[in-house]
């Protein structure tokens, strides 16, 4: 199956179940279970699960366009996270629970987990093993950020739940690649919306996109979107057992362009982009949240730099061996 055959039906489904009004409703506290069951019935959530375990047996690279689409539609559910969690569960020989699964990658109680508010389970990396904990067994507190679906999770002692095989580089590296891919999808959607707006909005008698200052900023925005996507692809290319270096390149790059992308999108839209009623904010709020989730650019640069400084090779050779191999 080629990428577009996979993507088109998925994208169509997201366009129907995650209309901006529906996204807003979930963010406002409405029940997301109908949206989730459509998604679950589509079968896409088992895309990464091996065929012998009843999944589609696809690689992370193959489904990267689906993860991008989840970002592009501002889906208010941890669908990409669930895909990864289901693959890890299958790898341990376990059947997946039905509901949405969020990823907690810090190992400490009190951490912030994206989409925790709409998750039924959280897959927690405790440093030496992963535990799949039902959300009801955890202490959940909202972050207080307007309309955010992220929550703080906590536990006493060790969280109760089933043990899952931990990927070599930990859950954080894998989550970072997924997060980078979500950012890339959101970035491309923002780029489309912003370019369209620049071509339609007229000031001083011509579309604002005819102004050279805006063209220069929009060109940088396009570069940022391209950069985020190719870095995410570098991470996805290594599959579920991603190396820390490749994950670092993906997340550091995506995180470092995310804030500027959001900033340019808002700048070009002017005041209307700030209003709650306009859809832009559904995307830009996520971009900022994801930049911080699973390690920002500073965190991953530190990981990458420490590994680089410990190796006597030349930089280009090192990158080829650690990221492209």
């Amino acid at each position: 199956m080629d990428a577009s055959e996979l993507l088109e039906p998925f994208d169509r489904m997201l366009a129907t179940i995650a209309m901006p009004a529906a996204v807003r409703a979930v963010e406002g506290g409405s029940d997301a279970s109908a949206m989730w069951s459509e998604l679950a019935q589509s079968g896409f959530l088992d895309a990464l699960v091996p065929e012998e375990a009843g999944g589609a047996g696809l690689s992370l690279s193959a489904i990267a366009p689906l993860i991008e689409a989840i970002g592009a539609h501002a889906l208010p559910l941890p669908a990409a996270e669930t895909m990864v969690a289901r693959a890890l569960l299958a790898g341990t020989g376990l059947a997946s629970p039905d509901g949405p699964i969020a990823l907690a990658t810090a190992g400490v109680p009190g951490q912030i987990v994206p989409c925790g508010l709409v998750a039924a389970h959280v897959l927690i990396d405790l440093g030496d093993r992963l535990v799949l904990a039902p959300i009801d067994a955890l202490a959940v507190t909202p972050t207080g950020v307007h309309h955010a679906l992220a929550v703080r999770i906590g536990w006493e002692g060790t969280p109760a739940g089933r043990d899952i095989t931990r990927p070599r580089a930990g859950l954080r590296a894998l989550a970072a690649v997924v997060r980078a891919t979500l950012i890339a999808g959101t970035a491309h959607r923002l780029l489309e919306l912003t370019t369209r707006h620049a071509n339609e909005r007229v000031q001083f008698g011509k579309p604002i996109g005819r102004q050279q200052a805006l063209q220069q900023n929009l060109a940088v925005m396009a570069e940022d979107a391209v950069v985020a996507r190719i870095a995410a692809q570098l991470g996805c290319a290594q599959g579920l057992d991603v190396s820390p270096a490749a994950a670092a390149v993906a997340k550091s790059t995506a995180s470092s362009v995310a804030a500027r992308l959001a900033g340019t999108a808002h700048a070009v839209h002017g005041a209307i982009g700030i209003s709650e009623e306009f859809d832009l904010q559904l995307l830009t709020r996520r971009l900022h949240e994801w930049r911080l989730a699973d390690g920002s650019e500073g965190y991953w640069n530190g990981v990458l730099g420490a590994a680089r400084l410990a190796d006597p090779a030349g930089s280009v050779d090192w990158i080829r061996a650690e990221v492209f191999a």
């Binding site: 780029l191 071509n199 929009l218 396009a222 692809q233 670092a248 390149v249 990981v303 492209f324």
Partner: protein, 381 residues
């Protein structure tokens, strides 16, 4: 938007070139200090270029019939990446191998191909690019230097400037006005191959702010050229130049201009045992890896026979921004540790790259012009 710039891998048969090219480079550049190696694509060494030609590392994208290796853009990527990351002096063959030979192959007559390409592949025919003029920089369509038809061929009058390596080159491929006036813009421009030994050609090197003389001004006073000097179609110069610039803008040279400095700095950090620059180092690694993936993605479009003009502009703008950020950040890091001694070699390398860095986003088309091309690709113009 820009969905064509997608992850591509270097084919294993081209990767296999690495050990051989590494060995050849090591035997030539091992003794050069970092500040010499940092000059890489301004470093002129005709003997080294001939050695590369002899070993089959030039003309990698060109047909065997003309002395090339018939391997394609990926093989060239591997070789170029090795040359630049080692800081080998590549100026002598650089332009001929990258731009002139593919241009002659694509638009030249059979006689022109046979006359020039085999010599380029041997590292023996050196070319320069005559586009810029004192009045025509970013606005290339306004070139004034004229080639008039005579009964024997062409007569050229005018001046080019900033011509990299004109003083060492055998030929210039010049963008000239063959009809109309500068007001006619793209119409009436043609490319001609000018033998720089022809009477009436005067080349004057221009010294740059680092003390090097790598570019020059070139004057044409009634220079007589044969009919065969025309390359491609008369009046087709603009179209040909645009395609040529995709070769110039997409390659690894738009990422690796400061990589010798980067490695010299990392060796310094390792030698003094400092670990506080880890975040900065990591940022550089993430950027290099991403740019490399983009440049390979662009190379893949070239390999498909496309002319990825907009994509190449993205790679170049992004790459030169990185190349220019490096010396600024490394300078800050080193001088943020005033009690830590820096070797002369590293200090000279840092300041050489710092001083020459503004040229990175000028040569081959300025940042503002490239962003204009990207904006056009987005439908904004």
């Amino acid at each position: 938007m820009f969905d064509t710039l997608t992850l591509a891998a270097l084919p294993p048969e081209d990767e296999a070139l690495r050990p051989q090219i590494q060995a050849l480079i090591a035997s030539h550049v091992a003794g050069l200090p970092a500040d010499r190696r940092a000059r890489s694509w301004q470093g002129f060494d005709a003997a080294f270029s001939r050695a590369l030609g002899q070993a089959g590392f030039l003309g990698l994208t060109l047909p065997r019939a003309y002395g090339g290796q018939e391997r394609g853009p990926f093989a060239r990527f591997v070789v170029v990446e090795e040359l630049l990351s080692a800081g080998a002096p590549v100026a002598a063959h650089w332009i001929a191998d990258r731009q002139s030979a593919p241009l002659i192959l694509g638009y030249g007559t059979e006689e022109q191909r046979r006359a020039y390409i085999p010599r380029i592949c041997r590292g023996e025919a050196l070319f320069c690019i005559g586009m810029s003029e004192p009045g025509s920089g970013s606005d290339l369509a306004s070139v004034r230097t004229r080639a008039e038809r005579t009964n024997k061929g062409w007569r050229v009058n005018g001046q080019k400037i900033w011509t990299t390596n004109a003083m060492h080159s055998d030929y210039m491929i010049a963008l000239l006005r063959t009809s109309g006036t500068p007001e006619d813009r793209h119409a009436g421009l043609s490319q001609l191959i000018i033998d720089l030994k022809a009477p009436g050609v005067v080349v004057r090197p221009i010294v740059d702010l680092t003390g090097d003389a790598h570019f020059a001004e070139v004057f044409f006073d009634n220079v007589e050229l044969p009919v065969e000097a025309l390359i491609g179609g008369e009046g087709e110069g603009w179209k040909q130049v645009t395609a040529e610039l995709a070769f110039e803008r997409s390659g690894p040279e738009r990422i690796y201009s400061s990589v010798v400095l980067l490695d010299a700095w990392i060796r310094h950090l390792q030698a003094v045992g400092r670990r506080d620059a880890g975040v900065l180092t990591g940022r550089f690694m993430a950027e290099i890896a991403t740019l490399r993936a983009m440049s390979i993605a662009c190379t893949a479009r070239l390999a498909l026979g496309e002319s990825p003009v907009v994509e190449a502009s993205i790679v170049k703008d992004r790459g030169t921004t990185f190349e220019q950020d490096l010396p600024v950040a490394i300078g800050d890091d080193l001088a943020a540790h005033p009690d830590e001694l820096v070797s002369d070699e590293l200090y000279r390398t840092l300041l050489y790259v710092t001083h020459i860095a503004p040229s990175f986003s000028l040569r081959g088309g300025t940042r503002e012009i490239l962003r204009g091309i990207i904006a056009r690709g987005m439908g904004l113009r």
